[in-house]
């Protein structure tokens, strides 16, 4: 191991002092939550780590207001458990991706906000960023900034909450977050169709999403552990409602193949697996890509990038086809060209989600931006972190 310096501030003020000092000396900081995803992004060459692990605890929970607020280093698991005791949950079904990076059990709520990670229910409940009500953070000047609040409707001033969500720690060190919560779904059913082609499967998904039955999960898995492809459609709600809607939805998709209905308990394990990328059947040396694309072009992207003809390649579709996960053996052609160019043709973006450090140096990890968007991105980086000390170059060459 290198000789890292690790700062674990126990308060926002401490964090502000550390960052203010680092800014004056132009010392780069690598920001960390539970440290479970330090593999992600472009390699950050910083000898100093700023960890949120010293700032943990739930600071507000009002079940009747549907809001929870916590310090950024609070484990997601703690929040999940507290909400569950009150029959509530984070609506966007946060993934942990534990199997992906080898880390175990330490994902923090602050990192979840910083990465804007959302699970299968993103298609009906919105993303992490949609459920984020407020953020406190320390910017690259060492100033403590508050944005948003604890209420669901708030248009007071610029929405820096959204900007912070998904900025991967390059704009500020998040110290506290407030999330909207919802009553936990009481029952779940999954409609399963077996043996459809990719095109047939995604077609079923988009048809189901266009039905009036409030689908909250829509995935197509070309290679299930049972050999055949599986097309999965989820419905959630009260038991009576789930039963009624599952029955009607079955009629909508009946023309596409024979359907089995999976009950609540089995459904929960299916969707946990989808959320945690189980269908990729990851091997230790796989490179993982995450693509956000228009659902009706998802299969075109796979075919145009020629992924389907690569030896050992596996992939599956979540979000009704809008989220594509690819696993490619490292030995195979990992050139990003065909993937990025297919996404360029059909719209969307591709992120190199897991790869060895060397590859993450060679290949742009985040999808290259157009020149005008890149220019604004640069200006924003300067507006928050003028000395460029926070996770330098994690997202883009100069960001």
């Amino acid at each position: 191991m290198n000789n890292f310096v690790i700062h674990r501030p126990s308060s926002e003020q401490d964090a502000a002092a550390i960052i203010g000092d680092a800014a004056s000396r132009r010392v780069a900081l690598r920001l960390e939550g539970g440290g479970t995803k330090s593999w992600i992004g472009r390699p950050v060459s910083a000898q100093t780590v700023l960890s949120s692990s010293g700032m943990s605890g739930i600071t507000l929970y009002e079940p009747s207001e549907l809001v929870v607020r916590a310090l950024s280093g609070t484990p997601v698991e703690d929040i999940r458990a507290l909400l569950a005791r009150h029959g509530q949950e984070l609506p966007f079904e946060p993934p942990s991706y534990e199997g992906l990076y080898g880390g175990r059990g330490g994902s923090t709520i602050g990192a979840l906000a910083a990465m804007n990670l959302s699970g299968p229910r993103r298609i009906s409940a919105g993303a992490a960023r949609d459920c984020l009500l407020g953020i406190r953070f320390v910017n690259g000047r060492g100033e403590i900034v508050k944005t948003g609040g604890r209420v669901m409707k708030n248009v007071t001033g610029l929405d820096l909450v959204k900007l912070m969500a998904g900025s991967w720690g390059t704009l500020g060190f998040i110290t506290e977050v407030a999330f909207k919560v919802l009553p936990r779904q009481r029952a779940t059913a999954t409609l399963r169709l077996v043996g459809l082609s990719d095109r047939g499967g995604v077609n079923v998904l988009t048809s189901a999403m266009g039905s009036p039955y409030d689908v909250s999960g829509a995935a197509h898995v070309p290679f299930s552990s049972r050999g055949n492809s599986e097309t999965l459609i989820r419905i959630e709600g009260s038991a009576a409602s789930v039963e009624a809607r599952a029955e009607r939805l079955r009629k909508v998709v009946a023309e596409f193949g024979s359907i089995s209905v999976v009950d609540t308990e089995a459904s929960l394990s299916i969707w946990t697996s989808v959320r945690e990328l189980g269908p990729l059947q990851l091997r230790p040396d796989d490179v993982v890509w995450r693509l956000s694309v228009p659902p009706d072009r998802a299969v075109d992207v796979i075919e145009t990038a020629n992924v389907n003809n690569r030896t050992g390649a596996r992939w599956f579709y979540d979000w009704s086809g809008g989220l594509l996960w690819l696993a490619l053996p490292i030995q195979a052609d990992v050139d990003s060209g065909p993937i990025r160019s297919a996404v360029g043709t059909f719209g969307g973006h591709a992120t190199l989600f897991r790869a060895p450090e060397e590859l993450r140096r060679q290949v742009p990890v985040f999808h290259p931006l157009s020149a005008p968007v890149m220019a604004i991105t640069n200006n924003l980086k300067k507006a928050f972190d003028p000395s460029k000390i926070l996770n330098p170059f994690l997202m883009y060459d100069r960001i």
Binding site: E62, P63, S64, E65, N116, I123, G126, R129, D130, N139, E143, I144, K146, T147, R150, V151, M152, K153, N154, V155, T156, G157, L158, D159, L160, V161, K162, L163, G166, S167, P183, G210, P212, Y213, G237, S238, A240, S241, A244, R245, S292, P294, P295, D296, G347, G348, H349, F366, H367, L369, S370, P372, V373, I376, T377, N379, L380, A383, F384, M395
Partner: protein, 476 residues
């Protein structure tokens, strides 16, 4: 009274040159510059304040918007973007040394994709016309501001508008997938598209609700939603505001999130009923409107649960709409309340949001504050998410009354912030709440917002008199 910055005399002196130059960039009929015609653009829905702009440009395509903005950037001319001019916060009120860029000639539907559940529209398209365009196929556009018949999607994006049905579907920012936007230097930016979560920083989230300060949106890709099989609404009347407020908390605590959960007090009920004749109960202090959607069985069950929860707080009457005619009447009354109020009195409409547990306290304090100014208030608001709309009634012909109403409104908004809420839930800051921003935000908070703003418009040419206190301006 709300202050405007003093106009830049050099720009005013060059008015005729500027008009001539703009004429060369726009098709005929797209430039308005006579005194009489400009009158129509001197305010928005905050009609107590008026400023006649230098000129009004009504471009017909993105390239024209880009040409006009590039020109304004070169010569330091300020620009105020305008959708339909329905802002209650003064977001579209011009200033004398600015030109208005109105999007009313860009109102076409460009594309609908039912597979992806998206619609691509020009920014001047009205909110309701999007739903109308996809309604026959069973889809709709979810955010529904009361002004949805008139307001434009571009204006909705500028203000991150909400509506009564946001409890389930979210506000504009949760239903926006992409924009085409012109920066002040004429650069055209494409953000997002038919996929979810645009690449890089969430510029879409930053642009939505930025009140025309970052650029001018000319096209938008929005999410459309398949309508449920059935929608049902119900009314519940209560003897006190506290009972109605407690019923709201009870419903949510029972794990039920209706599509809409609206509150009206006695004054609002009476004003609405006199005008819209929706059949509202006149013998109650407060009324809740709830709406649920789903399959028929589902709605029956949910309504039963809601009424059970509410019944712990002794509703005086409960009425479930039996058909779409009765449902439409319930909503007609609610949506007509602002207009009906305007027919009997001058009013200003506040828009603060509070944590819902504070509802009884804030309603009591609201009555006390308004009474201390010798004024009247009608309360009508989105109870499910704590977004209040006290309508403060006054008579503009009585000297000093408008100032009193504004002072009372300011106290109400400070109250919202004090209990953990915010100044504006869905109308925006505009000029109206600009000078109250420091009650919600520290100087550091505001400086960070202004630095983000300057990343797009370093010279502060776009809608510069809005959102941020006039005394504080931070460039790039």
């Amino acid at each position: 009274m709300i202050q405007f910055p003093s106009p830049n005399k050099e720009i005013i002196d060059r008015r005729l040159d500027i008009i001539q130059d703009l004429a060369a960039l726009l098709p005929g009929e797209s430039l308005i510059h006579t005194k009489e015609e400009l009158k129509a653009y001197d305010t928005d829905a905050l009609t107590a304040y008026r400023r006649v702009p230098l000129a009004v440009a009504l471009p017909t395509k993105t390239e024209e918007v880009a040409a006009v903005l590039a020109y304004c950037n070169r010569y330091g001319v300020k620009v105020v973007a305008r959708g339909a001019g329905t802002s209650l916060a003064g977001g579209a009120i011009p200033q004398e040394d600015a030109i208005v860029v109105g999007l009313s000639k860009m109102s076409r539907l460009l594309d609908v994709n039912y597979r992806n559940r998206t619609a691509r529209v020009q920014a001047g398209m009205t909110n309701l016309s999007i739903s109308d365009a996809v309604g026959s196929d069973g889809f709709f556009y979810a955010p529904d501001p009361s002004s949805q018949l008139a307001c434009s999607i571009g204006g909705n994006i500028g203000m991150n508008s909400g509506g009564a049905h946001c409890l389930k579907y979210g506000v504009t920012t949760n239903n926006l997938l992409g924009v085409k936007m012109v920066l002040i230097d004429g650069t055209v930016l494409d953000i997002g598209g038919e996929h979810l979560d645009a690449a890089g920083y969430d510029l879409l989230g930053l642009v939505c609700g930025s009140e025309g300060q970052l650029g001018i949106v000319t096209e938008a890709t929005v999410r459309i939603v398949r309508a449920a099989e059935q929608v049902r609404a119900a009314l519940m009347g209560f003897d006190s505001a506290e009972a109605a407020g407690a019923a709201v908390a009870e419903i949510i605590a029972a794990g039920i999130i209706p599509v809409a959960l609206e509150y009206m007090d006695r004054t609002a009920i009476q004003i609405s009923e006199n005008y819209a004749k929706a059949g509202y109960p006149l013998d109650v202090e407060a009324m809740l409107i709830v709406e649920v959607e789903g399959t028929e069985e589902e709605n029956d069950a949910t309504l039963r649960e809601i009424i059970n929860s509410a019944s712990k707080h002794g509703p005086r009457n409960v009425r479930v709409a039996q058909n779409s005619v009765e449902r439409n009447a319930i909503w007609k009354g609610r949506k007509a309340t602002f207009g009906a109020t305007g027919r009997i009195s001058d009013y200003i409409c506040m828009d603060g949001t509070i944590p819902t547990t504070q509802l009884p306290y804030v309603l009591r304090r609201t009555s006390e504050i308004i009474a201390s100014y010798g004024l009247r208030v009608a309360n009508v608001f989105h109870a499910g998410d704590g977004n209040l709309h006290p309508l403060i009634l006054f008579d503009i012909n009585q000297p000093g009354e408008m100032e009193k109403a504004e002072a009372a409104g300011e106290e109400l908004l400070k109250l919202c912030v004090e209990v953990g809420g915010c100044l504006t839930g869905e109308h925006g800051v505009g000029i109206e709440k600009r000078d109250l921003m420091h009650f919600q935000y520290s100087a550091v908070d505001l400086n960070q917002q202004m630095r983000a703003r300057a990343a797009f418009d370093p010279a502060w040419l776009l809608n510069p008199a809005k959102v941020f206190p006039l005394t504080a301006r931070i460039a790039a």
